[in-house]
């Protein structure tokens, strides 16, 4: 993704969670997260790698990568997050394609990326999947699912997020 697009994603994330958000470019993910047989990177290992280098100034770190992600039992994942934790990762690899594996238009990809970033960060705040298909917290198993949801939390998830943040501030 080009820097301008990433900047737009950053602004959307900042707006959604009302927390200062900044972009940092890093080299990675490291080679050991790659599974040679599958030609994919383990999202769980990438999360572990992110966790080793979280800057003091950051409460949450979201990795955005173009490598294809997987967990061992599944063929792929769009991303992974620690529910109620600090780290999350999103891959653009599958978001770049249409349902029948053709390249998707750039603005569609950017829109999908925003949704998946909000989704995985939502998990780090403690939100879980929402049964409301239009909610950004609904589970996406394919790009069609991603395209069905809006880049926003539904009313229930928004309320839940506020409660979780309040709970966190109290403790």
């Amino acid at each position: 993704m080009d820097e301008e697009a990433l900047e737009r994603v950053r602004r959307q994330v900042e707006g959604a969670f009302a927390l200062p958000t900044r972009l940092t470019a890093v080299n990675g993910p490291p080679g050991e997260t790659r599974d040679a047989k599958r030609g994919q990177h383990s999202s769980t290992r990438i999360l572990r790698w992110i966790l080793t280098g979280i800057p003091r100034s950051a409460e949450k770190v979201l990795g955005i990568t173009d490598v294809d992600l997987f967990i061992p039992v599944l063929t792929f994942v769009f991303g992974e997050a620690q529910v109620g934790g600090s780290a999350a990762v999103v891959s653009t690899a599958r978001l770049r394609l249409t349902y029948d594996d053709r390249p998707a238009p750039h603005d569609l990809v950017e829109g999908r990326l925003v949704k998946e970033c909000l989704h995985e960060l939502g998990h780090t705040f403690g939100l879980v999947h929402c049964p409301e298909v239009a909610c950004v917290m609904s589970r996406s198993n394919s790009v069609l699912d991603v395209d069905q949801k809006r880049a926003a939390l539904c009313r229930d998830c928004r309320q839940r997020l506020e409660d979780l943040i309040e709970e966190r501030n109290r403790s």
Binding site: R38, T44, L47, F70, I71, P72, V73, E80, V128, H129
Partner: protein, 454 residues
């Protein structure tokens, strides 16, 4: 938010366990992991899981062995076997051993989502079904007593609490509401349950006989006292003394009883030795003791002594929802007693039972069913066999509310007169038909001044 089900992931590879746990946690499941069969079984012994995701190939105990051992531990948990080496044989074997399904690794995210979603929905439906069935069957019990009525539930709750204490209980309620049954149940639930339950009907005996019955007597205490005898207070030692129809005892006995309750000791009739009492008193009456106190017929101090824990049994007409339940209960009892294939009452018979006012309460219902059970030739009791007098409808529909109490008494009087006439003034048969005992019927005849020639 409703908490989601618990899932146990069993796999020897840490990355598989962690990644799958993370994936399921994002769905809101509570996830535990186990690296091998024995640790999985240990976890199963600790908490209930809705879903078990088990890897087929593991060193030591394999997935099928975990499945076999997990089934009896948690029969409601659905086991999904995961395998990288799918063969028809292993799949068939897994399903035969009770696995819910199997997945070939790596599987599509959609496949896992669908399977887990379908599974939890089915489990939620099943649970809802169980809860609905329970709600439908919801009934409260206290020993032999059954009810669906909130009023009775409150009675049972109070009786349960009373049973735990040693305090005097006063059971109030109309004839046939089950005052003695409740007293027996309280005794059976109390710490004194190993001791005796001794009942005395205070209305059935003359003053001197009741005195001797309660306190015993010494030889020569009165004409005919050829030997000494223990009274109910002594016989009930360590247990419960049930004083039925306490509202009918004479002023002298009221005073005697008050003294025993105060001093916890008494003398036998004609005796000099003080005997200590160790009984829990449960008194019962169908009369309005408070009114008897107001009219000066019953000692106020004794009333307060007895009225420590008052429990009022509602009449059957105020808990008609219990009639089908009681009918089932009594039919089961009668089936066993009579060795007759009694199954149920017909729809019409049930309508009649529900419409009846039951002045003799549960006892009357039991008697009506017993009579019908004797008469019936088939398994279903019909209106003909129930032989219920249709409810008497008051002739003054515009009657003022103040007249309500009088008309209820009048209804009871008329019902008694009709029953007595039906049974040619045979007191035993009439009392049975009314569902009350003979003494109560005599008392009612006296109270209502019913004459044979009217």
């Amino acid at each position: 938010m409703k908490p989601k089900a618990s899932v146990l992931v069993v796999d020897d590879e840490e990355i598989v366990r962690d990644s799958l746990a993370s994936w399921l946690e994002e769905d809101g499941y509570r996830v535990d992991t186990a690296p091998d069969g024995p640790s999985a079984l240990a976890k199963l012994a600790e908490r209930a899981y809705a879903i078990l995701l088990v890897d087929l190939k593991m060193p030591g105990m394999d997935g099928l062995e975990v499945l076999t051992k997990a089934r009896p531990m948690q029969p409601d948990a659905a086991v999904i076997i995961m395998t990288a080496y799918a063969t028809v044989d292993t799949a068939v074997q897994a399903m035969k051993q009770g696995a819910y399904d199997y997945l070939v690794k790596p599987f599509e995210p959609e496949e896992l989502s669908l399977m887990v979603g379908k599974l939890t929905n089915a489990q939620a439906l099943q649970q809802e079904n169980v809860l609905l069935r329970k709600a439908l069957k919801r009934q409260c019990e206290f020993k032999d007593m059954l009810s669906k009525s909130p009023k009775m539930e409150a009675v049972f709750e109070l009786a349960r609490t009373a049973a735990k204490s040693n305090s005097t209980v006063l059971v109030l309620g109309e004839s046939g509401t089950g005052k003695e049954v409740l007293a027996r149940a309280i005794h059976a639930e109390s710490l004194r349950r190993e001791g005796p339950f001794v009942g005395v009907s205070c209305a059935a005996l003359t003053e001197s006989l009741l005195e001797s019955e309660l306190f015993g007597h010494e030889k020569g205490a009165f004409t005919g006292a050829t030997g000494s005898a223990r009274g109910k207070f002594e016989i009930a030692a360590g247990g419960t003394l049930f004083l039925d129809e306490i509202g009918d005892i004479s002023p002298k006995l009221q005073l005697d009883l008050l003294r025993v309750l105060d001093a916890k000791e008494f003398r036998r009739v004609g005796g000099t030795q003080l005997i200590k009492t160790d009984v829990r008193i449960i008194a019962a009456t169908n009369r309005d003791l408070k009114k008897l106190v107001e009219s000066g017929t019953f000692r106020e101090d004794l009333y307060y002594r007895l009225n420590v824990i008052p429990v009022t049994l509602p009449p059957l007409r105020e808990r008609k929802e219990d009639i089908p339940l009681l009918v089932d209960h009594f039919l089961a009892q009668l089936r066993a007693e009579m060795h007759k294939p009694l199954e149920a009452v017909s729809k019409e018979a049930m309508e009649l039972l529900m419409a009846h006012e039951w002045p003799g309460n549960v006892r009357e219902l039991r008697n009506v069913l017993e009579r019908a059970a004797v008469l019936t030739r088939g398994p279903i009791l019909t209106p003909l066999e129930l032989d219920l007098t249709p409810p008497v409808v008051s002739g003054s529909p515009g009657g003022a509310a103040a007249e309500g109490a009088d008309s209820l008494r009048e209804m009871e009087r008329r019902h008694i007169v009709t029953t007595l006439k039906q049974h040619h003034w045979n007191i035993t048969r009439s009392a049975k038909a009314l569902g009350i005992d003979r003494v109560t019927l005599y008392n009612k005849i006296k109270r209502y001044q019913i004459r044979e020639d009217e």
